[in-house]
């Protein structure tokens, strides 16, 4: 008999069915991965039976022979405290801000009826999840810890009572790439050590591949396919599965043919940016210090690095869309004027696309006005009807129906909104696009299609791209060269193939290893 058996589980919020007759089983000590695009019901499948979501479950879910669906709140509480542990997606918000790490660990520890742990016990528990300086951490409040440290602390709390089953809901997706591998490895180790079953929720097939024994793939709340992990990832049977696997770029994929590059286009030298810290103190936060980069016509350069490494700040300084302390930027060897002095001619050269597609569009404006905004200011020669024609053509180019022109941003999905943002950026026929994590807020499948679009545009329009990303595999798909940033400096730069196969800097090596 399996440890955890889910049979014909459904869950609904109000009248909406979120999970629809899902069945699978988890053996003791095994790792099962639930995968699928966002909104496919993976998290609800895990949380609803345990009473941790507003969704109401029906069907059957048995943990160690005990039925969860229909159990009263007290029973579920006891099971949560004794037999199962949870790790959640957002380590920054998952810990109670006003209780110390030690207090929260004690709380988890004693729920199953265990005696209050000694300090040494708790230090050992934190040490086991490789949290540095565990002795000090016990007395610290969560905000003193980094995201990775907090996730370790959360894992320590989740396994403090030695649960039979650990449910990890996207445990790494809020973390930097280099940390993801470490956390996954830790979960794997702990699973083997305690012979604990692991139910892993993820949208990241690549991460799942090396850790899970079997995979359950969900689509719109239903099981699309399931089976041993190796089989499903190597040869998915359903179209959806194939799309999902294909949409996840892998470092091992062969490099696509990239367009030819031309004469030098942009040259940024010794760029430094700092921000004033809030408050009356006068110290400044150095975001970028002395970074240089160059781009040729039609060339794509990926700027990769962890969060807070200064890649966005650098790119905005170069595009004259953000502050800049010192440094020069040349465009075809002519100096680019400073931010406040940019002329219509200069503004036409570089256009941006940002990460959050919905926040990129003014909620009060119609799509047609949004796309026409740069035309209005940067192409004064175009008459009203000329702009309307251009908008129509641009919508077509980004594969959106013409009647989208009358919509408001709230009537668009994330992918559609990002296409509108791309259309706006293309409106004045720039020579270079600044793509600031342009696909990372999108769902896997949608992101894949937006990447296809960018690839098409790159070939058709002879565009230079400055592509900011934290994902090396995505960078490989579009970019000739990669520049790696850390702590405000470019630590390594070179052709894509070289960076990926022979990284020189330890941070780059870590990044490549994690991808």
């Amino acid at each position: 008999m399996s440890l955890y058996v889910v049979e014909e589980l459904s869950a609904r919020i109000g009248d909406t069915v979120i999970v629809d007759t899902v069945s699978f089983a988890v053996e003791a000590g095994q790792c099962v991965a639930l995968v699928g695009a966002s909104g496919s019901g993976k998290s609800q499948t895990c949380l609803a039976p345990f009473g941790l979501s507003p969704a109401v479950p029906s069907g059957s879910t048995q943990l160690d022979g005990v039925e969860l669906v229909g159990a009263d709140a007290a029973t579920l509480r006891a099971i949560r405290g004794r037999d199962v542990g949870f790790v959640f997606q957002h380590p920054l918000t998952a810990l109670t801000p006003h209780l110390t790490i030690g207090a929260q660990l004690t709380e988890s520890w004693t729920r199953s009826g265990a005696p209050t742990p000694s300090r040494a016990d708790m230090v050992a528990a934190l040490d086991r999840v490789a949290l540095d300086a565990p002795e000090d951490r016990l007395d610290q409040f969560p905000h003193r810890l980094s995201g990775g440290q907090r996730q370790r602390a959360l894992i320590a709390m989740a396994i403090a009572h030695r649960p039979k089953l650990l449910i990890a809901d996207e445990p790494t997706s809020a973390l930097d790439a280099s940390l993801r591998a470490e956390i996954m490895a830790l979960l794997d180790e702990l699973r083997r050590e305690h012979d604990m079953a692991l139910l892993l929720v993820s949208h990241d097939l690549a991460a799942v591949a090396s850790h899970a024994d079997s995979v359950v793939m969900l689509r719109d709340g239903r099981v699309e396919e399931s089976g041993p992990a190796a089989d499903i990832l190597a040869a998915p049977r359903s179209d959806y599965g194939r799309a999902l696997v294909a949409a996840t770029p892998k470092l091992a994929d062969s490099a696509p043919a990239l367009p030819e590059t031309g004469a030098p286009l942009l040259h940024a030298e010794n760029v430094s940016v700092s921000f004033r810290r809030p408050g009356w103190r006068r110290d400044r936060l150095q975001a970028v210090s002395g970074a240089s980069l160059a781009l040729a016509e039609g060339e794509a350069l990926a700027l990769v690095g962890g969060s807070g490494s200064g890649k966005s700040t650098l790119a905005r300084a170069i595009a004259r869309l953000g502050p800049l302390d010192t440094g020069t930027v040349r465009w075809r060897s002519e100096p680019l004027p400073e931010r406040k002095r940019m002329t219509t001619h200069h503004r036409r050269l570089i256009q941006p696309v940002f990460q959050d597609p919905v926040a990129s569009l003014d909620p009060q404006w119609r799509v047609s006005d949004i796309i026409a905004e740069p035309l209005k200011h940067l192409r004064p020669d175009l008459a009203e009807w000329g702009r309307a024609g251009a908008v129509k053509q641009l919508l077509q180019e980004v594969d959106l129906p013409a009647d989208f022109a009358d919509r408001f941003p709230r009537e668009l999905s994330g992918g559609q909104a990002q296409r509108v943002a791309i259309a706006r950026a293309l409106a004045v026929e720039p020579e270079m696009l600044l793509l600031d994590e342009a696909t990372s807020a999108l769902d896997v499948l949608v992101a894949g299609r937006v990447l296809d679009l960018l690839e098409k545009l790159q070939h058709e329009r002879d565009l230079a791209l400055l592509f900011i990303t934290h994902d090396l595999a995505v960078a490989k798909r579009l970019c000739h060269r990669i520049a790696v940033m850390d702590a405000g400096q470019i630590i390594e730069e070179g052709p894509t193939e070289q960076i990926i196969t022979a990284p020189a800097h330890p941070i780059t090596q870590k990044l490549v290893a994690a991808s």
Partner: protein, 263 residues
């Protein structure tokens, strides 16, 4: 949504009645009916009865409501204009300017502001124009804070950066992108400021520091009703009820709108 519509509807009915009904009443708000001092409710010619000197309470309540609402609306608009301008400038310019401007607001928040209004009334005489300028001038603080917060949040939104990249000049960004997106929240706080001002105006009138006879306001009527309540309680209950109804309805409408916009 429906609750806020009903609330606004009630306020609208009260306001329309206060504006248009008094000319059709047999008695003006200050005329004395010597034959009917302290007439009870529903007496002929005096639907709400009369007060201790024989003035028609229906006419007085309607005129008082009119004055109270007019003062409140004017003061709330003063608050809206000052607050939006101050907050938008502080948030838009940012940096040191913002810090100094908001420190001033913080400082003014620490004023026992009702006492300052009283001071103003005493110093400059009990003038109805001054009443609402004085109240508006202190009620703008919350508006300034809210608008500043909104402007700063909007300034960080990528669509503003995109507008800059699109070559939109700063004034066009402010008028085309920032202010229209602030308008909804400003309107919600305008709705919430009106009942605040109604309260303050009535408070001052109750103390005899606000609106002066022969003009009347809900605050004055409550005061007169309170003085006479052991003989005829409805003289207190009617204007008090209208006052509370206006405040409740505007508060509900404002809060609903605010909550809807902050989601």
């Amino acid at each position: 949504m429906t609750a806020s519509r009903i609330s606004l509807g009630i306020v609208a009915i009260i306001a329309l009645a206060a504006l248009f009904v008094p000319p059709f009443l047999p008695w003006t708000h200050s005329a004395i009916d010597w034959d009917a001092v302290r007439a009870p409710l529903f007496s002929t010619g005096h639907l709400f009865g009369t007060d201790s000197v024989g003035r028609d309470l229906l006419a007085r309540t309607l005129v008082g409501t009119r004055v109270t609402l007019a003062v409140a609306l004017a003061a709330a608009l003063v608050a809206l204009v000052i607050g939006t301008a101050w907050g938008a400038i502080a948030g838009w310019i940012g940096g040191r300017t913002d810090e100094i401007m908001m420190r001033i607001v913080d400082g003014l928040y620490a004023l026992p502001f009702m006492f300052v209004v009283i001071l103003l009334m005493v110093v400059f005489g009990r003038n109805i124009v001054l009443v609402f300028i004085g109240i508006g001038a202190v009620e703008w603080l919350t508006m300034a804070r809210v608008v500043r917060g909104q402007v700063i949040a909007l300034k960080e939104r990528p669509f503003v950066t995109a507008a800059e990249a699109a070559g939109a000049p700063a004034n066009r960004i402010l008028t085309g992108h920032i202010l229209p997106n602030v308008a909804g929240v400003a309107l919600a706080y305008l709705l919430l400021t009106v009942p605040q001002v109604v309260m303050v105006e009535s408070f001052l009138s109750f103390l005899g520091l606000g609106v002066q006879e022969p003009l009347t306001s809900l605050g004055i009527l409550v005061k007169e009703g309170a003085d006479d309540m052991d003989i005829q309680p409805h003289a207190l209950l009617i204007p008090g009820g209208v006052l509370v109804l206006i405040i409740v309805c505007l508060t509900i409408a404002g809060e609903r709108l605010r909550d809807r916009l902050s989601q």
